[in-house]
């Protein structure tokens, strides 16, 4: 059995934007899923991990490269590969049974056969008694169980999971994850391989045999971490913590300067993808870091755990603190810098001043906007002007998000003002 279940060779994806340059989302990805393996894909938002999963599923065609399922090319969804979606993707007008049967409908099996298999899948995933319920009657956890039942009813070889637990609360997610692992470990499902896209590092370490870490801009495989710990894995074990630390380190440092302190970062351009962090959260995090038990230095996994922050929430904040020069990260630890400590000690007005200085020094886009406004005679400029500039570097959606972020920061720092109705940036009231 040396033939990989699923294999990609040199898969790239570029999105062509109207009137703009092509944007590379995934860059030459070579990947294989072997028999009996669970692979988790981790990466920050924008790393193209979801797109990659959809290419594996045959939902999105790659721009270059090939996807093969048991040596057969995948250019559209194929029998044998099932997918579970982040927001469940259940048909609200079908009952649980109807939703699960839908997976079988196109296979052309008889109605009696469909009913039998659907009921089996529903029993397997622990939904018995809810066959005639509509999705809207169910809680999130139960809905995702329907999602799993629908995926499993076709006896798939490969299960693709797109952040399947991210919409669920911690306890529900843990239960469902445990149930899935039980089915997998006890071989009660015929599935031979699972690929899961995740935003939760501990989840990935808990279930995967191998973790793939994706880079941002464009998405590339940064590192692969095999995990050989026996299951069930306790998140308190030393081996477990070590791997979690390793993943954090990989995700919080730029490639090429892993953990080297004081390394000169390459200068950022105005098109830098600013992380999605609000000032409120930033100052909250700085306060938390200053107080005990951290006193200015924290282990990231521990911080995430105790402050109950998932990767998607924590990483943008950390990135912003690094960007502003308030903190630096190495070896999975975060430490406040002198400016960061000064910010922490300051009162509200002084904080604004420190934040403004940091913004103008370290965030080229903010400095750029301020300079343009200073130069213009009326000290006013339409936001659309900057949006167009950003669109040279970023997708339309991302450009808008980045502009919104910098406007939020700039307003807080009072380095410029913004009028929502006219969509004009100005230096009014300063």
């Amino acid at each position: 059995m040396n033939v990989p279940l699923l294999q990609t060779t040199g898969v790239s994806k570029t999105y062509r934007m109207p009137d703009h340059l092509a944007r590379l989302v995934l860059d030459r990805i070579d990947f294989e899923l072997r028999d009996g393996e669970i692979v988790a894909i981790l990466g920050k938002s924008g790393s193209g991990k979801s797109t990659f999963l959809r290419i594996l599923a045959g939902l999105v065609p790659p721009s270059e490269g090939v996807v093969e399922y048991r040596r057969l090319g995948v250019s559209e969804p194929v029998r044998g590969i099932s997918m579970v979606f982040q927001t469940y993707a259940l048909f609200p007008w079908l009952t649980v049974l109807g939703n699960v049967e839908l997976g079988l409908e196109a296979q052309g099996s008889s109605a009696a056969e469909r009913r039998r298999r659907a009921v089996n899948a529903i029993d397997l995933i622990g939904l018995d008694g809810f066959e005639s319920a509509y999705p809207k009657e169910l809680s999130g956890g139960m809905r995702q169980r329907v999602g799993f039942a629908r995926a499993l009813v076709v006896d798939p070889d490969i299960l693709l999971l797109d952040e399947p637990f991210s919409q669920l609360d911690v306890l529900t997610a843990e239960t469902l994850r445990g149930d899935l692992l039980d089915l997998w470990d006890s071989r009660r499902i015929p599935t031979k391989g699972i690929v899961i896209v995740s935003h939760n590092i501990e989840e990935a370490v808990e279930i995967a045999d191998r973790i793939l870490i994706f880079n941002n801009d464009p998405g590339r495989i940064r590192a692969q971490i095999p995990i050989t710990l026996p299951r069930p894995r306790s998140s308190d074990g030393a081996g477990f913590r070590q791997i979690v630390d390793q993943v954090y380190t990989l995700l919080t440092t730029e490639p090429g300067r892993d953990g080297r302190r004081g390394a000169k970062p390459e200068p950022l351009g105005i098109g830098h993808r600013l992380p999605d962090a609000s000032v409120q959260q930033l100052s909250g995090l700085v306060d938390t870091l200053t107080e005990g038990p951290y006193h200015g230095r924290a282990d990231l996994p521990q911080l995430a755990d105790e402050e109950n922050l998932v990767m998607d929430e924590l990483f943008p904040l950390i990135e912003t603190l690094q960007l502003l020069g308030f903190a630096h990260v190495s070896g999975g630890d975060i430490e406040l810098t002198p400016p960061g400590r000064a910010y922490a000690q300051a009162d509200m007005l002084a904080r604004k001043q420190i934040f403004a200085d940091a913004l103008l020094t370290h965030v080229p886009l903010a400095a750029h906007i301020r300079r343009i406004l200073d130069e213009r005679p009326g000290h006013r400029a339409p936001a659309a002007r900057f949006l167009r500039e950003l669109e040279d570097y970023l997708s339309e959606e991302e450009a808008q998000r980045v502009l919104d972020t910098v406007i939020d920061w700039g307003r807080h720092a009072e380095i410029f003002a913004y009028d929502y109705d006219t969509e004009v940036l100005s230096l009014e009231n300063f």
Binding site: R16, M83, A89, F91, P92, W93, E105, A106, A112, R115
Partner: protein
């Protein structure tokens, strides 16, 4: 056991066995089928243009006439439904088609509905020589035009907004395009389609009544129906007969409301992707009958089975020729060329209409028609203003009292459905009796039927105002003028705009029948474009009909772009409550 019905049914056969509810359901269904068959036969009766169709004012003939009217409505509704699904599917799935279909739809929407009648009736008569069916078709087509466009827009919008993950799920589980359409896209479209359909039908009663008595080139053709009954009563100055007609129409609308409108709306809620709260969970009695009676499960199972059969046949066909999917690269030059060709086509069409009109109509008359349009526009705006001044405070008052709002809602919907033209004779009698100026006093007729949309939407907008905001306003001591200005008016603005747009559109349409009204041989005329179209239609002057309708269209489009769209955007951008 399963074979008892002669159909291969497997799913829960016990659900398909008859029960007591069927005792209610079966006679109703069989009765409806029999009535439809009888009416359909009557429709294709022999007829020559010029032959007088006598309408009897005997009240006992009214149920029969009402049935014929309802039948026209049903035909138009079925046609609209099929049209909207096909047209919207084409527009949503084919980019080239979309570029033509959507602007065309936008323009069709602004053509006055009775204008379609004027244009198409001769063609339809020619289509079925010697039969009444041609005239029937023209009337049905007019009703169709009052329903189809907004239904189509709603389906198109829904098809464009099917959640991506649901589409992906459908693809992952290999649903064929046909099955995806019926299992995913149509169900997703149902809530908004049903809502728009019911709004259309409510508006349609007005046009069904107006389109039954058609005057073509000096000939008045009267289709048996409530509308013709009214027209006859008007020409014979019989107020009593008009009273009977109002009574019968009242019963018809009541039945429509109870048997169709409410059950359908409640049923359509099942298809909401994101049901907003469960507060509105009253199930209409007729829906309960339908859902409990086994007969309907049988029909449902049959339809599903039929759909499956079609799908299997189609996918067997499709399997033979399936090309591998490749990433399609956009071809900007080709699209540019396509756009230019489209523009050229549109320009030549416009030039053709212009030359057709200019060949017979003098330039000064064209100018005059534009002025007439202005007069009607002034009427529409003044009336919307007056109706707003009356109904906004009342609507807010009702909306602030949830219990009252619950009870008022169905009544207002009922009023909106009731064809206001049944009351026109009464208004004319009053104008004549008190020797009022028709230029002013005919105007209110335009908004008689459409004002309810303002009231209805204001009530909805007010009930949507979160209790918290009301409490905050109370807490801050915001009262009277300040409360109206800062709290309630901004809060209801989006809903109000929707209501006002609908009311204004309806009033433009109504102008054709309300600016020129008759009582016996007296005709009252208010100066305006509606009266102009009514007169030229009666004379059968096609160039002038085209002129009148084009100008009316231009006005409606102009005001839509200039005013309503902007207000919509403002409402959507600034004053949303979320």
């Amino acid at each position: 056991m399963e074979q008892r019905w002669g159909l291969p049914l497997i799913a829960w056969p016990s659900r398909l066995r008859p029960n007591y509810w069927d005792i209610v359901a079966l006679p109703m269904v069989l009765g409806a089928i029999a009535l439809l068959a009888w009416g359909g036969m009557a429709m294709s009766a022999h007829y020559q243009v010029g032959q007088a169709l006598l309408i009897s004012l005997d009240p006992w003939r009214l149920p029969e006439y009402a049935l014929r009217t309802v039948l026209r409505m049903v035909c138009a509704l079925v046609a609209s439904l099929l049209f909207s699904l096909a047209y919207a599917a084409l527009a949503a799935k084919n980019r080239q088609a979309e570029k033509i279909l959507i602007p065309v739809l936008d323009i069709l929407q602004s053509v006055p509905i009775l204008g379609f009648l004027s244009i198409t009736v001769t063609g339809f008569i020619a289509l079925f020589p010697g039969r009444l069916l041609g005239v029937e078709c023209a009337a049905i087509f007019a009703i169709f035009t009052s329903q189809a466009w907004n239904m189509t827009f709603s389906v198109y919008q829904s098809l464009r907004t099917v959640p991506t993950e649901l589409i992906e799920a459908a693809r992952m589980y290999h649903l064929s395009p046909w099955r995806r359409f019926w299992r995913l896209e149509v169900p997703h479209a149902i809530p908004s389609l049903v809502w728009n359909m019911m709004m259309s039908v409510s508006g349609g009663w007005f046009f069904v009544v107006a389109s039954e008595a058609i005057t073509v080139a000096g000939q008045t053709i009267m289709l048996p129906g409530v509308g013709s009954y009214i027209a006859t009563a008007i020409s014979q100055r019989d107020l009593g007969a008009i009273g009977y007609a109002v009574l019968v129409m009242f019963v018809v609308i009541l039945l429509y409301d109870q048997l169709l409108f409410r059950p359908l709306l409640a049923w359509s809620r099942k298809f909401l992707t994101d049901p907003a709260g469960e507060e509105d969970n009253v199930r209409p009695w007729f829906l309960i009958v339908l859902q409990r009676a086994r007969l309907f499960h049988l029909i449902q199972a049959g339809v599903l089975e039929l759909n499956r059969f079609i799908d299997d046949a189609l996918s067997a066909l499709a399997r033979r020729r399936r090309a591998p999917r490749v990433e399609r690269r956009p071809r900007p030059e080709l699209e540019r060329m396509f756009d230019i060709a489209l523009l050229g086509l549109a320009a030549s069409a416009a030039a053709w209409i212009a030359s057709f009109i200019c060949a017979t109509v003098e330039l000064s008359e064209i100018g005059w028609v534009f002025l007439l349009g202005l007069a009607t526009a002034a009427r529409v705006f003044v009336l919307i203003g007056i109706a707003s001044l009356i109904w906004v405070p009342i609507g807010v008052g009702i909306g602030l009292r949830p219990r009252l709002a619950d009870r008022a809602q169905p009544i207002v919907q009922f009023l909106a459905a009731f064809p206001a033209n049944l009351f026109f004779p009464a208004a004319v009698v009053l104008v004549l009796r008190f020797r009022l100026n028709p230029e002013i006093w005919l105007s209110p007729l335009m908004i008689l039927g459409t004002q309810w949309y303002i009231l209805f939407n204001v009530i909805v907008g007010t009930t949507a105002l979160p209790m918290e905001l009301r409490r905050v306003a109370q807490n801050l001591g915001v009262k009277r003028t300040l409360w109206w200005r800062r709290v309630i008016l901004p809060a209801i603005f989006p809903a109000y705009v929707t209501g006002a747009v609908t009311a204004a559109g309806g009033s433009w349409n109504a102008s054709i029948v309300s600016e020129a009204v008759q009582w016996g041989d007296t005709t009252l005329i208010a100066t305006g474009i509606g009266a102009y179209i009514a007169r030229t239609t009666a004379e059968g002057d096609s160039a002038r009909i085209a002129l009148g309708i084009s100008v009316l269209c231009l006005y409606v489009l102009f005001f839509n772009r200039l005013l309503w769209h902007r207000l919509y955007d403002l409402a959507a951008e600034r004053l949303r409550l979320d």
